[in-house]
Symmetry: C2
Subunit: 316 residues, 2 copies
């Protein structure tokens, strides 16, 4: 099977559609790369590309997009609601098919080196590529944003970049590049409007408050629910490693906590594109599909689509 | 997305591996066709091919395999435990990707016409292609087997073939060809060795005894379970339309009936290759993934592998 990575680079331009189109063009008509999505948000003044591709080809597409971003974006004149520190703000590489986090990490580091050398932009490796624990979290790297970054980087011990110069690019700022597992945005709507309950459940299941290792969670108040309820309390989660903290585990944990308050789950929402594996895993859990022995359920062999993917490889 | 059908033709030869190889060769090195599996059973004296492909290409591969089967198999000298009526005994066409039962039916009828004309073999359309209710069930068509078929076909009102001559082929007999939904073989092992309970549950969930429309079920005694239990009672099901009688519904129905006896489910077994859709459907059910409104879960758009399948299309 062909190796594929996903990338979801974020650019600090969400209003000028000509500029956005130039950035997106770097991912089009390119062998081994497919642009899946380009979302702009004018409040955030930001656009988010989603692309998959063979590792080298995908890396080269992102590298070219840095060239465009440096040309069309000047952070000295950028304002928007979303925090940002660079023209290209952040570039995650995510294992997608037949690839590991280690392979995504190797590509992140190649790209970081080339961005530093070619465009003179300081690069901080983050998440699973981070060179130190305090650099894993994107929010910590980005704290101070573009305007505060020059001063922040004077602390050489903490904030010397992994690649590129030790001072910010005058118009393009700095960038975070790194490998991570696919993030699954998974929301659970409760049959209550009581936000205290949603917050209490979020706190019970999230890592930093003693919950599951790879769950991040907050309570969110929904005011435009399609059911017509005036307010629905939601537990909004990011599952940052579905292989280690499974989707079904997060779901059952929320249901279990909700029972304390006599509250039922209305529904869950799986946001955006997710790997088949994370849902097949749920089906296998709930169906108690064999985990052991000769009858063990093997998604790689037993799901027809996995054969079809291989099929097309051989025809190419 | 490219249209793909699956076919699982059965041939009455499971002992002479040279002959089997000649049959299987019809599905190899053929544009638009992929041979997934070739299983032989010497007790049954039968082989079962599994192949997927673009509808026309797949039909032509099966047509060629009739030529080989007519050449190498003589049912006058065939014996085996499995009932059979033809050198090629049965050819189902199954929607696999981006195809409907109607499209599978059209291909089945094209093949039937060509088999009748080219090889002089009587063809009975069965399952979703059947021309009359009494011809839907393969067992009813096959009753009497090769040896009894000449006499059976004298009843012109009931058993005039849909294609081909109205008398059997002297060595290759007759064949059933038809479209059907994928059959999902789904077994549920109970935490009991009591076969009365397994049989009672099977009877409660199966169509002919008042259960779900598309469930066929029997109780089966397992004597070599990997857990070391001397005997495990199993409810063994065929789900013959997973879109209308879902896998999770069959599972929950068995659990619900088992509760009457205070019996738990040990595990389930999904046998062989199944379409991703039937398991994603289970995940969406158990996770209560939104069924309504703007947040509705859409497997076609939200599962990354579905994008990758499309991706490779465009590259071809």
């Amino acid at each position: 099977m062909k190796k594929l990575l996903e990338t979801v680079p974020n650019y600090s331009e969400g209003r000028d559609m000509e500029k956005v189109a130039k950035i997106a063009a770097c991912f089009k008509n390119r062998k081994g790369v497919r642009l899946l999505d380009c979302q702009t948000d004018s409040n955030h003044n930001r656009c988010v590309i989603t692309a998959v591709g063979e590792p080298e080809a995908l890396k080269n597409a992102v590298l070219d997009s840095f060239g465009v971003a440096v040309e069309v974006i000047d952070l000295n004149h950028h304002e928007g609601q979303h925090p940002r520190m660079g023209a290209v703000d952040v570039v995650p590489f995510i294992p997608c098919r037949n690839t590991t986090v280690e392979e995504a990490d190797a590509i992140a580091k190649e790209l970081g080196k080339e961005v530093g050398e070619k465009y003179g932009i300081p690069v901080f490796l983050y998440e699973d590529s981070a060179s130190a624990p305090h650099r894993q979290n994107l929010a910590k790297i980005r704290k101070g944003q573009f305007e505060g970054m020059a001063e922040k980087m004077q602390d050489k011990e903490l904030w010397t970049p992994d690649f590129g110069p030790d001072h910010i690019h005058p118009t393009a700022g700095v960038v975070a590049i790194g490998a991570r597992m696919p993030l699954i945005a998974f929301n659970i709507n409760l049959d209550t409007d009581n936000m205290e309950i949603a917050n209490a459940i979020a706190n019970a299941v999230k890592n930093i408050r003693g919950g599951y290792h790879f769950i991040k969670a907050i309570g969110v108040e929904l005011n435009d629910h399609y059911s017509g309820r005036p307010t629905v309390a939601q537990v909004s989660m990011n599952l940052v490693n579905y292989q280690k903290t499974a989707v079904y585990r997060a779901f059952e944990a929320v249901k279990m906590e909700a029972r304390r308050y006599g509250v039922n789950v209305l529904e869950s929402e799986i946001v955006g594109v997710v790997p088949m594996e994370c849902l097949i895993d749920c089906a296998a859990y709930y169906l108690q599909a064999c985990c052991f022995g000769p009858m063990k359920f093997d998604p790689q062999k037993q799901i027809m689509e996995n054969w079809l993917l291989e099929d097309e490889e051989e025809e190419n």
